[in-house]
Amino acid sequence: MKEPKLGTALSSEDFKKKRVFTTSYKPKAEYAWDTGFAIGHYLEGLKEGKLLARSCKKCGRILIPPRAFCELCFRPTDDWIELEHTGTINTFSLCYITWDMRKLTDPVIPSVIEIDGATEGCGIMHMIGGVDPKAIQVGMKVEAVWKPADEREGSITDIKHWRPIL
């Protein structure tokens, strides 16, 4: 191979001292995504304090997040199923950085939680809380801690977090 061609490194000084010209822009990119049949119901269920799944009678799976069709059987799903408010930690992390790269002293604890009543291995992403981070392990049983009914707004954050059942 030859020496690489271009790729001129700039330092943050180069920007601060305006050694290079720049332009900046913040796009206005706003959306209102149609929730549709499956997720529309899912959000309303959360508002009511329910975890809703859909079943596929062909493969027998009970699916959360719910969907209008079974992606494996490629047919419409059949029924609404209300799941338990408990589950199992499939995996988790202790994260010390926010989505916009600010540092955190106390970690947030994202997790994949397999929900009781859904097909084994079928989970959602949510947060673990109300526990010493050091005590968390894969395989731990957890339960949903809901916001009070009057604070719920039809969002996944209507569940505050999931707390280990000790």
């Binding site: 191979m1 271009l6 001129t8 490194a9 180069d14 994260c95 994202p110 997790s111 996944i156 954050t157």
Partner: protein, 388 residues
């Protein structure tokens, strides 16, 4: 199989934290060097393929269009393809379709990413890879998915973080020999584990940097390849597979989509026993554990055994099956799509004996490059070889 397809030239920029060049200038630098290295002119190019990941990085909607002239697409057939982080290894697969179909004779294949344009930090773009309605409200970042996947991989197999940290040591060492490298270094396992925890179990030195850069190759059909070079490197197999977007419904401990893509490529190449027949590999290594995870998906190590083989030196540049001899994303840098293309370039240089101080000192028959991306979901695999 369709007509034989070869790589006949490669070009690359330096990978840097912040580049002065505009994205089209980076594209042109890599693409024009690839043309020179193939000894071909711009008029010889029938079609152009571009690979680049999210528009939010470079900060241009329809950035494929924005990058087209820099990639050499003026009045030529041009498409930009992407499968998230898998894009860099996918772009040559996309080009392979153009050539193996017989529709075109020659293709210029360019991958670019300028992540430094994204403010305040490129990581900010990653919240929007999650489901807009059911996941983004939780404030997720990219580290989460890596940390969640690494944790699952470790938990299922009982793997330790020491075993995983070794990948950074190997790759940053390998990158010392790469002139494009952003983060080559001589480190110890302890230093990796002493670096700050970003998202347990992921430490800072287990993460590839954000980078600006571009890389490119020239691909041709068999006739053109034989007319322009004595040393064509053949694209003997390609494979790609995308798993369900419902990622929380899958077991993350094993990348079954990589296995699927790998067998598609191996079958095409006539490879029956990859662990024996593949001479070296460039698996995708944006985070330490990913290289191990992918070596298993590529069938180059039994499930859960890659960490042990790594510790034994099996994947060192002078080991039985060198892995990431380039220095990988951890060492060379990670301008997403360009990093995947850098792996294709490495296969090309290694198989031609042009890798300089990185050259693997044994007879090379086949190399495999692989990339991964989306919501832990896509595997893209290319097997390249010399005349065997």
């Amino acid at each position: 199989m369709g007509k034989r397809v070869a790589v006949v030239g490669a070009g690359i920029t330096k990978f840097v934290r912040r580049a002065q060049e505009t994205p089209p200038e980076l594209c042109w630098a890599a693409a024009s060097q690839a043309l020179e290295s193939a000894g071909m002119s711009f008029d010889d190019i029938d079609c152009v393929i571009h690979g680049t990941a999210p528009d939010a990085f470079d900060g241009v909607h329809m950035k494929g269009e924005y990058l087209s002239a820099g990639s050499g697409a003026w009045r030529k057939p041009y498409t930009r393809t992407y499968v998230g982080g898998g894009t860099g290894v996918y772009a040559p697969i996309h080009a392979w379709k153009h050539l193996a179909s017989g529709k075109f004779r020659t293709a210029l294949v360019v991958c670019e990413e300028k992540m430094s344009s994204c403010q305040p930090h490129p990581q900010g773009a990653f919240i929007t890879i999650f489901d807009h309605t059911t996941e983004r409200a939780l404030g997720p970042n990219l580290l989460w998915i890596f940390a969640l996947e690494q944790q699952r991989y470790m938990a299922v197999h009982g793997i330790t973080n020491e075993e995983i940290a070794r990948v950074a040591v190997k790759n940053k060492h390998n990158a010392m020999g790469h002139p494009s490298a952003q983060l080559g270094a001589e480190l110890t396992v302890d230093e990796v584990l002493e670096s700050e925890i970003m998202a347990y179990p992921v430490h800072r030195l287990m993460v590839s940097p954000t980078s600006d850069g571009a890389a490119a190759v020239i691909m041709t059909n068999e006739d053109v390849a034989k007319s322009v070079t004595d040393q064509p490197v053949w694209v003997d197999g390609v494979g790609w597979a995308l798993d369900t977007a419902f990622w929380t419904n899958r077991d993350l401990y094993y990348p079954r989509y990589v296995e699927k893509a790998a067998w598609m490529a191996y079958n095409m190449a006539g490879i029956k026993n990859p662990a024996e027949e593949i001479s070296f590999a460039e698996p995708y290594d944006p985070f330490c554990y990913k290289e191990l995870h992918h070596l298993e998906g590529l069938q180059l190590a039994p499930k859960g055994q890659a960490p042990k083989l790594l510790a034994e030196g099996y994947f060192d540049r002078d080991g039985k099956l060198p892995s990431c001899p380039s220095g990988g994303l951890l060492g060379v840098g990670n301008p997403i799509a360009a990093a995947g293309m850098m792996k294709i370039c490495e296969l090309f240089w290694q198989l031609r004996g042009e890798a300089g101080e990185r050259q693997i000192k044994k007879d090379l028959r086949w190399g495999v490059a692989q990339a991964w991306g989306d919501l832990m979901q896509v595997g893209t695999v290319v097997v390249m070889g010399r005349d065997g």
